[in-house]
Amino acid sequence: MELEALQGINSEVRALGAQIVVLTPELERYTRALHKKLNLAFDILTDLHLKTAEEFRLVFTLPDYLRELYKSFGSTLDRFHDESEYRLPMPARYIIDKQGIIRAADVNADYTIRSEPAETVRQLQTLAASN
C-alpha cells in the first residue's frame, strides 16, 4: 500500500523538483516483478543485507516466535532477502535535502501506521519555499 500511495503522489513530487526511491531488502528478482506489477514510475532499490537501513538505524530482528509464524504462512525471508537472520527494516519515510540533511523523518515500529503521502508533499512544498 505504501508503494501505491507513493505512486499516487509521484507527479506532485516531480513537479516540486524532488524524486522518490524505495529501499527494500528484497532481491532484484522480486523487486523487478513488483515494479512491473505496480507499474511504478520510481525505482525500487535492493538494499542488500540491509546495509543502508542499518546506517539509518532502522533494522530489527524478528523474534523466534514470529519467525515460526511467518514460516507457517510460507514467508521465508531467507529466500527473499538472501538473509538467514530474519532482520527487517522498520517502515520509514525520509525527506533528504540537496545538502544531504534529513528534513523529515517518519518512523514507526508498528507497520500498520504510516504517515499520509499528502503530508510528504506538504513537507516538500515547505522545503521548496525555504530554498
Binding site: 507513493l6 528484497e26 543502508t52 546506517e55 527494516p89 508498528d110 504510516r114
Partner: protein
C-alpha cells in the same frame, strides 16, 4: 480515494476479524500484536536517524540491475526515501 491510513486500517480490520480471505486465527493476531508492542518497547524508534541528521549515502541496484547513487539523485533535488520491508 481513501487515505493511506484509512486503507491500512481497513486491511487491519479485515485481517483481525478472522474472516476470509485471511482467516487469521486469534493466536496469530495476538502474536503479531505482542511482537509490535515488544519492538516499540525497545525504544528502537528513538534510535533511528532523525531530522537534522546527515543522511548516509548509498549506491544500490534498481529493479533493472542499474546502480543508483543517492549523491547523483541529490544533485537533481530533494529525495523521498521510503524503507519497505517487502511484498510478502
Amino acid at each position: 480515494m481513501a487515505s493511506l491510513q484509512e486503507r491500512l486500517d481497513e486491511f487491519k480490520k479485515s485481517f483481525e476479524s478472522g474472516a476470509p480471505p485471511y482467516n487469521a486465527p486469534h493466536e496469530v493476531i495476538e502474536t503479531m500484536h505482542r511482537a509490535t508492542a515488544e519492538l516499540k518497547a525497545t525504544g528502537i524508534e528513538g534510535q533511528a536517524l532523525k531530522v537534522g541528521d546527515r543522511a548516509p549515502g548509498f549506491t544500490l541496484f534498481n529493479q533493472d540491475h542499474v546502480p543508483v547513487a543517492s549523491a547523483d539523485l541529490l544533485r537533481q533535488g530533494p529525495l523521498v526515501v521510503s524503507f519497505f520491508r517487502g511484498h510478502w
